[in-house]
Amino acid sequence: MTNWRIFLVEDEHIVAEALGKALRQLGAEVVAMAGSVEQALVLLDTTAEIDGALLDINLRGVHAYPVADELIARGVPLVFITGYSAPAIPQAYRHVPVLLKPFSPGEILAALFPHAADAKGA
């Protein structure tokens, strides 16, 4: 399985577009793109079959943890994409992998699907 369906939450559109392009080159697909907490929660309700999510922690100056909670409750593999180093992330989310910006596209899928990446030797 390589056609991962990715839910992308990032408030900087240029960055989101570049990420989407990188994901497509990796054989994944961005099934929804949100730039705010409200948008993300609405899209989460209307988007089927999400294999993984990339979530910027700070959306327009608002913490994105309500979106993280919703993704975790649904069992969707989740990776934080952020400019904040680990110490700034609440204890409750310490198990969520973090990609520190700026990161290279190759790191995304390995962080989201570590076991699949191992299996494919990626």
Partner: protein, 210 residues
């Protein structure tokens, strides 16, 4: 500690934007030599924005200031003749400044290369007003170029229009819940950008003057 975390956050986000801009610019260049000028100009826009934002806490950034800064950076002095900038003093929400600056930069570059700023009898007019519908204040910006006898190049094939169009039609609406429209004809350009002004601004608005 909080301050350092915030500084790191801003720096890393800015680096991610630079990374994405490099990617976008590279994708539209035929040779590596084509890359340097537009990329440096885009970096210069980001750099000007950093300068503005560094003092935004004490003095809000206004739309007029941003428009004039981007025009001047390309040598287009607003002079009330061929280049006109008009509108009330309106403070911009801080988070709108960077993306608006990038959009205005692409419009201005495009005007300099193919549009009103390149044509001998071209006119560029940037004007704006504040509207108030049901208590929601909005800033409506209009960019108008006229008197372009004939555009030098088919604009849809060029990188600048490409990124400019993406920024105006996709990025600005996505990030600012804005409404935008960009129309490029052979002899004129018109772009409308309408953004919400979220909170009460520190500066008064003078709708009455418009």
């Amino acid at each position: 500690m909080m301050l350092i975390a915030e500084l790191e956050h801003r720096t890393r986000n800015l680096l991610a934007v630079v990374d994405a801009l490099a990617d976008q610019t590279l994708a539209s260049c035929e040779t590596l030599a084509d890359f340097a000028v537009p990329f440096r100009q885009r970096l210069a826009t980001l750099s000007r924005v950093q300068g503005l934002l560094s003092r935004a806490e004490t003095k809000p950034i206004t739309i007029g200031e941003l428009v004039e800064l981007e025009l001047r950076s390309l040598g287009a002095e607003p002079n009330g003749r061929r280049v006109t900038v008009e509108g009330p003093e309106v403070a911009l929400p801080n988070r709108s400044v960077q993306i608006l600056a990038l959009g205005l930069h692409e419009l201005a570059t495009n005007a300099r290369k193919y549009g009103a700023l390149a044509a001998p009898h071209g006119f560029l007019r940037v004007h704006w007003r504040v509207t108030n519908d049901d208590g929601q204040r909005r800033l409506a910006i209009r960019w108008e170029e006229d008197g372009i006898a004939s555009r030098r190049t088919e604009p849809t094939n060029t990188d600048r229009v490409g990124l400019g169009r993406t920024l105006i039609e996709k990025s600005i609406p996505f990030q600012l819940d804005a409404r935008t429209r960009l129309e490029i004809a052979h002899d004129a350009v018109r772009c409308d950008i309408v953004i919400a002004l979220e909170r009460a601004q520190r500066l008064p608005t003078w709708d009455a003057l418009r």
